[in-house]
């Protein structure tokens, strides 16, 4: 279950999918929450309906990589107000269907401190972000935008 993003079968790959692009967010705890939420949806909640790309491939990769947002209705998940995933996707690839900022899911009295080994509170926040991603995946699929 934990290793399957790149190993989906050819049949699965032909399904219409929603793209999810997470910011790398290595510098911030919110970035790690963004990645965890994204992986939760990709690996566990919607493994057959979603796909992803490593965001820096927009620059390091080829034309095929930059077609990502044209090939898939795309949800971006960012860890901070810089919105790097959204900006880079719209700059290099195409229009984003829905944009999520992790900061919007952190309550006023909640503090996030860990970039790795997230604590229970940080995992709970990641769960809320994953709920939002999943909700929007379902919405896009229901509206037939794929």
């Amino acid at each position: 279950m934990d290793n399957k993003i790149s190993d989906k079968t050819e049949t699965e790959n032909k399904r219409k999918k929603v793209g999810i692009v997470s910011c790398g967010g290595e510098e911030l705890p919110e970035g790690s929450i963004s990645r965890l939420a994204t992986l939760d949806v990709l690996l566990k909640r919607k493994p057959f309906d979603t796909t992803t790309i490593c965001l820096p491939l927009y620059i390091a990769g080829g034309e095929g990589d930059r077609m990502f947002a044209k090939n898939y209705p795309t949800i971006t998940v960012d860890g901070c107000e810089k919105l790097c995933a959204k900006k880079a996707t719209e700059k290099f690839s195409g229009k984003v269907t829905h944009s999520i900022n992790v900061k919007d899911f952190i309550k006023e009295d909640e503090k996030v401190i860990n970039k790795r080994n997230l604590n229970d509170k940080e995992k709970e926040i990641a769960g809320r972000v994953a709920d939002e991603i999943e909700k929007n995946v379902d919405k896009i699929l229901k509206e037939g935008q794929v």
């Binding site: 993003i5 790149s6 290595e26 992986l39 820096p56 990769g61 790795r116």
Partner: protein, 144 residues
């Protein structure tokens, strides 16, 4: 040489494979434990999106890139701003020469994955030490 320079360690943002997680965990091990006061990281996505503060930080300091696969996203994203990383590590190479240290999964790389992280982090911490002492690090790796 400016001794106040820090070493910016930039892991790839590999999200689809466990080796990307190893890359990121290695960076964290170095900046949080092995070379806490000398090294830090930046978000690779901020370089991709063209964030000015991040670009300046990369240009003004030493840079070590850690790439999980041959597409070398971290190295290429740094190079696009005219900066050659002072050292570039290919994590796949370390995985290949340490077959007993294999990451288990994407979210939790397991004990064997953490052993791989420790191995690579030791090497990267040595690079940080050399760079901050103005020693020339060994020739940039070519793992293509």
């Amino acid at each position: 040489m400016n001794n106040n320079k820090k070493v910016i360690i930039i892991p790839c943002s590999g999200i689809g494979k466990p080796i990307g997680t190893v890359s990121r965990e290695t960076a964290y091990e170095v900046i949080e434990n092995l070379a806490k006061d000398k090294a830090e990281t930046v978000c690779l996505a901020a370089l991709t999106s063209g964030d000015e503060d991040t670009i300046k930080k990369v240009k003004d300091n030493y840079v070590i890139t850690l790439d999980g696969c041959a597409r070398r996203c971290a190295q290429k994203n740094v190079e696009q701003y005219g900066k050659t990383p002072d050292k570039s590590h290919m994590i796949l190479k370390y995985a290949a020469i340490n077959p007993d240290k294999k990451p288990k999964g994407l979210i939790d790389i397991g004990d064997s994955g953490r052993a791989l992280v420790d191995t690579i982090a030791g090497t990267v911490a040595k690079d940080v030490e050399d760079l901050t002492k103005n020693k020339k690090v060994t020739e940039k790796e070519n793992n293509n």
